[in-house]
C-alpha cells in the first residue's frame, strides 16, 4: 500500500495533531513514513500544510509530486482547494465545511463550498457541530480524521490504537471521547458516500 496525504489548514488550527496520530499508527505497524511539516512564520495565521506519505515500501521524497496525492485532508475548505493541483485523478478531498476568515477578501462561503463540490470525490463535513454532539469542539480534528478513515489506506483499528496510545496520558474519559469523535466522523463520511 501507499497513501500520499496533504494535510491543510490555517496556522493555529492544529493540523499536526492529526499527523501525529497517523504517524503513530504507521510506525507502530512497521509502515514507512515521511512527514514534512511547516514551522515558523506561516504558523501565525497563514496557510499551512503538511505532506504525509505512508507506504509498505521505502519512501524517497519528503514532498508529494503534483497529481499524486491520494487524499487532501483539510480543516478549512478554501485551504483544501489550494492543493488541488496535487490531487490525483481518483484522489479524495475530505474537508471541514467551516470557513476560517482571517483575511479581508475571503470569498463568498457558498462559492467556496460549490468549488469543493465540483471535485469528483469530495466530502464536506461540519466537524465542529459533530464534535459538539460528541462532547467537545476540541475533538474537531479527530472528527475530520474519522471522516477520512475510508480513504487512508490503513485499517481503522490502527488509528484507534494510536488514539489510545497518544491520549492515554490524559485519562480514559478523554480517550473515549476521541474514539467517539473518530467514529462519528467516520459515520458521517460513509453516509455521505451513499447519498
Amino acid at each position: 500500500m501507499k497513501t500520499d496525504i496533504i494535510l491543510s489548514g490555517v496556522g493555529g488550527q492544529g493540523i499536526l495533531s492529526i499527523a501525529t496520530i497517523i504517524g503513530e499508527a504507521a510506525l507502530k505497524n512497521n509502515l514507512y513514513m515521511k512527514q514534512s511539516e511547516v514551522h515558523g512564520m506561516s504558523q501565525r495565521g497563514g496557510d499551512v500544510q503538511s505532506n504525509l506519505r505512508i507506504s509498505d515500501a521505502p519512501i524517497s521524497s519528503d514532498l508529494i509530486p503534483l497529481k499524486k496525492c491520494d487524499l487532501i485532508l483539510s480543516l478549512e475548505p478554501m485551504e483544501a482547494l489550494r492543493y488541488l493541483p496535487y490531487l490525483s485523478e481518483n484522489g479524495w478531498i475530505v474537508t471541514s465545511s467551516a470557513p476560517f476568515k482571517n483575511i479581508p477578501n475571503y470569498p463568498e462561503d457558498s462559492d467556496v463550498i460549490n468549488e469543493v463540490k465540483k471535485v469528483k470525490n469530495s466530502v464536506l463535513i461540519d466537524v465542529e457541530a459533530i464534535a459538539k454532539e460528541v462532547g467537545n469542539t476540541r475533538c474537531s480534528n479527530i472528527v475530520l480524521l474519522g471522516a477520512a478513515l475510508p480513504y487512508l489506506g490503513i485499517p481503522a483499528e490502527y488509528i484507534e490504537d494510536a488514539i489510545k496510545t497518544i491520549f492515554a496520558r490524559k485519562g480514559e474519559e478523554i480517550v473515549n471521547m476521541n474514539l467517539a469523535a473518530l467514529n462519528a466522523g467516520r459515520g458521517e463520511s460513509i453516509n455521505r458516500f451513499h447519498d
Partner: protein
C-alpha cells in the same frame, strides 16, 4: 530495532547526544531551532549534564563552542543560515585554530525563503573556510552524520560544517539509534599555541590547513556518505546532493540507467567526480541552493563537457527543488504550470489578535500621522508583520539589529523623525552595539523596544535580556528620563501616544519599552 519518528533536526540532536556531545550552543532560527529544543528536553542529555541554554547570538554561540573544544570536549553550534553571517568571524578563524574536542557547526538553509530574508547556501562557507562539510539526504543520515561528525572533526583536527535545508529539517521519518559514546574528558591542546592567532602562529596554522586539503578530499573519496551507483547508460551522468537524491529516486522511471554520484560529504570526492566526468557524455547536477558544484565542474570558460543544472535553466535557479522540478530536468519536458483554483486567496501570516505589538503599532501610527516625513526602521521578529496591512508601519527589515543603526544613519542624513522598532531578543542579539553608536553621537532617534518577554517568532524561547533592558540602556548611556516603559493595551492608548510624541520631540536618543508578554508564550506556560 525500534525506530523513532524524528524530524531531521531532532535526529541531529539525538545523533550528537549519542556521539558524546558535551554542549550545544545556539541562537534560535527557523529551521534550526528544534535541535537545541530537543537537547534541552532530552533525559539522556540532562543526565549527562549537556549544556543547552540559549546564547545571546550566533557569534557568542560559536565562540563558546570553540571554548568547549579547547577544553577537549565535543560541542555543537546551531543556527539558521543567516546566523552564520553573524558567527562568520569566529567560524572562519576556528578553521585556522583547528579544534581540540570535536566541533560540529550546523547551519540550516532555507531555500524558497519560507521564513528568511535570503536563500544563501552554507556550503560556500565551508569552502570559504577550507573545511569539510556534510549534507544529509534523510533523517537517518542526519543522525549518523551528527553521531560520527565529532570523530571526523577530531580526526581531521577541524570544525565540520553540517548543512541541512528546511525540507529535511522539518520532515519526520523513522530513525534507528546507535549506542551512546562516552563524553570526552577535559584535555588541553598538545600545542599550547594552537588557539593563539597572532600572525606568526596563524601563518603556520594556515599553512597546515592548506596542506591538509588533499587529506580532506581523500577522506571524502572514502566516505560512506558519498556513493557511486554505476549505470549502463553513459549518455548522462547524474550528481545529486543531500535531499535532492530523494527527488531523483522519486523519479526512478526517468533515470534510464544513468550512473549516479550521490554526494553527502565535501570537499567533492575527486576520484568519483573524475570517473563520472570521464565516462559520461554529459552531467546533470542536482543541488539544493546555489549552483556550487555546477560552477566548479563547468569552469570559468564552460568548455568542459556539457553540464546541465541551474545555470542553464534545466533546474530553477531560485527556490527549493521538488520531485516535479527534478522530473522535468530528467525528462526534458517542461513542468506543467501549477494552477490553483482562482477562488483561492492568499492568506499571509499576521500578528495574533490581542498581541502587544499591535497596540504598539496602533499608537505609533497614530502619532506619526502628525509627522508625514517620519520613517520607521523595522527589525526581525513577529513585529516585522507590522509591514503588512492594516499597519504598513515599517520601511525596512535588513538583518537583526539593523533598525537602530539604519535609523541612526538616516537621521545622520537628515531624516526626522527617525524611529526604530526592535524586539527584546533582537535588541540583545545585535541592537546593543548600535544603540551605543547612537548614544555616543547623541543621534536624534527614537527606539521602540517592543518587549514581549520572549523570542516569539521562533516559538517562544527565553530571551537573553528579560528583566535587564532598562539597565542595559541606562548602562550604555541613554538618559534615564528618556527610557519610558509602557504597557501596550488599548486602555493605555492615550498614555502611549503622548509618551511616543514626547520622545520623538526630544532631541537625542530615547528608548520606549512597551512591555507585555506574548500571548502564545503565556498560553503555553498556563498549559504546563
Amino acid at each position: 530495532m525500534q525506530k523513532l519518528l524524528l524530524l531531521a533536526d531532532e535526529a541531529i540532536a539525538l545523533g550528537a547526544i549519542d556521539g558524546g556531545l558535551s554542549g550545544v550552543y545556539a541562537y534560535p532560527g527557523t529551521p534550526s531551532t528544534e535541535i537545541t529544543e530537543f537537547i534541552q528536553m532530552n533525559r539522556d542529555a540532562q543526565a549527562r549534564g549537556i549544556h543547552s541554554r540559549w546564547c545571546t547570538n550566533e557569534k557568542t554561540a560559536m565562540e563558546a563552542a570553540v571554548g568547549m573544544s579547547f577544553a577537549g570536549k565535543r560541542s555543537l553550534v546551531c543556527m539558521k543560515h543567516v546566523g552564520l553571517n553573524v558567527a562568520a568571524d569566529p567560524f572562519m578563524n576556528s578553521a585556522i585554530t583547528g579544534v581540540n574536542g570535536g566541533v560540529l557547526v550546523l547551519s540550516a538553509d532555507d531555500p524558497s525563503m519560507h521564513s528568511s530574508q535570503n536563500e544563501q547556501d552554507s556550503r560556500y562557507y565551508a569552502k570559504f573556510a577550507l573545511i569539510p562539510s556534510l549534507e544529509p539526504s534523510n533523517q537517518q543520515e542526519a543522525y549518523d552524520m551528527a553521531y560520527y561528525g565529532f570523530e571526523l572533526s577530531e580526526k581531521l583536527g577541524r570544525p565540520i560544517l553540517l548543512r541541512i535545508t528546511t525540507r529535511l529539517a522539518h520532515s519526520r521519518s523513522g530513525v534507528v539509534r546507535k549506542e551512546m559514546m562516552s563524553q570526552n574528558k577535559t584535555s588541553f591542546p598538545n600545542n599550547p599555541k594552537q588557539f593563539i592567532l597572532l600572525p606568526a602562529i596563524a601563518k603556520k596554522n594556515y599553512a597546515d590547513l592548506l596542506a591538509s586539503q588533499s587529506k580532506y578530499v581523500d577522506n571524502s573519496e572514502n566516505s560512506p556518505f558519498n556513493t557511486y551507483y554505476d549505470g549502463d547508460n553513459k549518455k548522462r551522468g547524474i550528481i545529486a546532493c543531500g535531499v535532492t537524491y530523494n527527488y531523483l529516486m522519486e523519479n526512478k522511471e526517468l533515470i534510464n540507467g544513468s550512473p549516479i554520484l550521490k554526494i553527502g560529504q565535501y570537499p567533492l570526492p575527486r576520484k568519483q567526480v573524475e570517473r563520472i566526468m570521464t565516462e559520461c557524455e554529459s552531467i546533470l547536477v542536482i543541488e539544493e541552493g546555489y549552483p556550487l558544484i555546477e560552477e566548479m565542474l563547468k569552469g570559468f570558460l564552460g568548455k568542459s563537457l556539457k553540464i546541465n543544472g541551474k545555470l542553464d535553466g534545466t533546474l530553477p535557479r531560485q527556490g527549493e527543488l521538488n520531485p516535479d522540478s527534478v522530473a522535468s530536468a530528467l525528462s526534458g519536458k517542461k513542468a506543467e504550470p501549477v494552477v490553483i483554483p482562482e477562488i483561492v486567496r492568499m492568506r499571509p501570516p499576521a500578528l495574533c489578535q490581542g498581541c502587544g505589538h499591535r497596540d504598539m503599532y496602533e499608537a505609533l501610527n497614530a502619532v506619526l500621522k502628525q509627522y508625514p516625513e517620519a520613517k520607521v526602521f523595522g527589525d526581525i521578529g513577529c513585529y516585522t508583520l507590522g509591514a503588512l496591512p492594516p499597519y504598513g508601519a515599517i520601511s525596512s527589515c535588513l538583518d537583526m539589529g539593523a533598525s537602530i543603526t539604519m535609523a541612526k544613519g538616516a537621521s545622520d542624513a537628515g531624516v526626522f523623525p527617525a524611529v526604530a522598532v526592535i524586539g527584546d531578543s533582537t535588541f540583545t542579539h545585535s541592537g546593543i552595539t548600535g544603540l551605543l553608536d547612537a548614544v555616543n553621537e547623541n543621534a536624534n532617534i527614537t527606539v521602540v523596544i517592543s518587549d514581549n518577554l520572549t523570542t516569539a517568532m521562533t516559538g517562544g524561547q527565553d530571551s537573553a535580556g528579560t528583566g535587564k533592558l532598562e539597565a542595559i540602556c541606562e548602562g550604555i548611556g541613554v538618559k534615564k528620563e528618556h527610557i519610558r516603559v509602557l504597557v501596550p493595551l488599548k486602555k493605555n492608548f492615550e498614555e502611549m501616544t503622548s509618551v511616543i510624541k514626547e520622545e520623538i520631540e526630544y532631541q537625542g536618543v530615547s528608548v520606549i519599552i512597551p512591555r507585555r508578554e506574548c500571548l502564545q508564550t503565556l498560553k503555553r506556560k498556563k498549559k504546563q
